[in-house]
Symmetry: C2
DNA sequence: TCTTGCCTTGACGTCGGCGGCAAGGTTTAG
DNA sequence: CTAAACCTTGCCGCCGACGTCAAGGCAAGA
């Protein structure tokens, strides 16, 4: 499998795959003419990368999962480093949710005050 | 008030203030020597900008609030454009919270499976 | 006068995950 | 023979909110 086919099967671009390689997430054998050659294990790796990127992971966070897959584990989640990242990410997401809820409440309060202010100012005349 | 003092009183940098100016959020009178000169109304504007940036607004979203303040309103929230941005932002934040909750649940499930997998694999031998 | 400490404009650097283009080599089909 | 469709490396562009110089002007105290 060459890079174009891998990209298509993984639903991404060749540019992204080369990018993952330069960042140590993907390795490729080379054919005689210098072309990158991949197998199904690489396809699984790329799918893992894409899934985690979609969840909001950075490439650095993804590396343990990829290493875990390449170590022969059927899932990238089961290795200690991956579990540690999962725990950290859950905490980060929880914190993010808390922040966003605070923001939401604040915006809602501002909106309420703004509308009340408009009503009291404009109730009896054109505004 | 010169730009350095405004920056200090608003808790930001002179670079940021010039940046706001180039993006139409801040205007400055000029003294004879070309220095930017500000008053307390500008301080209020900058504080509004900083508050909204802190909440996660982009500069483009903030412009209506600044215009509202400069139109003489005591709060930047009360003008129709500001209210529209507030409503939109609340919706965006709500959507963001939903996405993050979905991510959280997914990560939690992955973590659970990973831990169970490790326990079943390693329970009776060194791992 | 000299230094210190403001101020000015302009332009490039940062971060992350690529997109897009250039300039070439390879392989296959017609 | 040539065109099409792959592949290679390398480098600049993008987004947003600034940071960080660079090179110079202005003001005020010792």
């Amino acid at each position: 499998m060459l890079i174009g086919e891998l990209a298509e099967r993984a639903g991404t671009s060749t540019r992204a795959l080369r990018y993952y390689e330069t960042h140590g997430l993907l390795r490729a054998a080379r054919s005689a003419n210098g072309y990158r050659v991949y197998d199904d294990a690489d396809l699984r790796v790329v799918r893992e990368i894409r899934t985690l990127l979609g969840i909001g992971f950075a490439l650095d966070d993804i590396r343990p999962f990829v290493d875990c897959l390449r170590a022969g584990h059927p899932s990238g989640d089961v290795c200690p480093d991956s579990v540690a990242v999962l725990r950290r990410k859950i905490a980060e997401v929880d914190a993010g949710i808390d922040r966003m809820r605070a923001v939401r409440d604040r915006l809602h309060a501002q909106l309420t005050v703004a509308i009340e202010s408009r009503e009291s100012t404009c109730s009896s005349r054109t505004c």
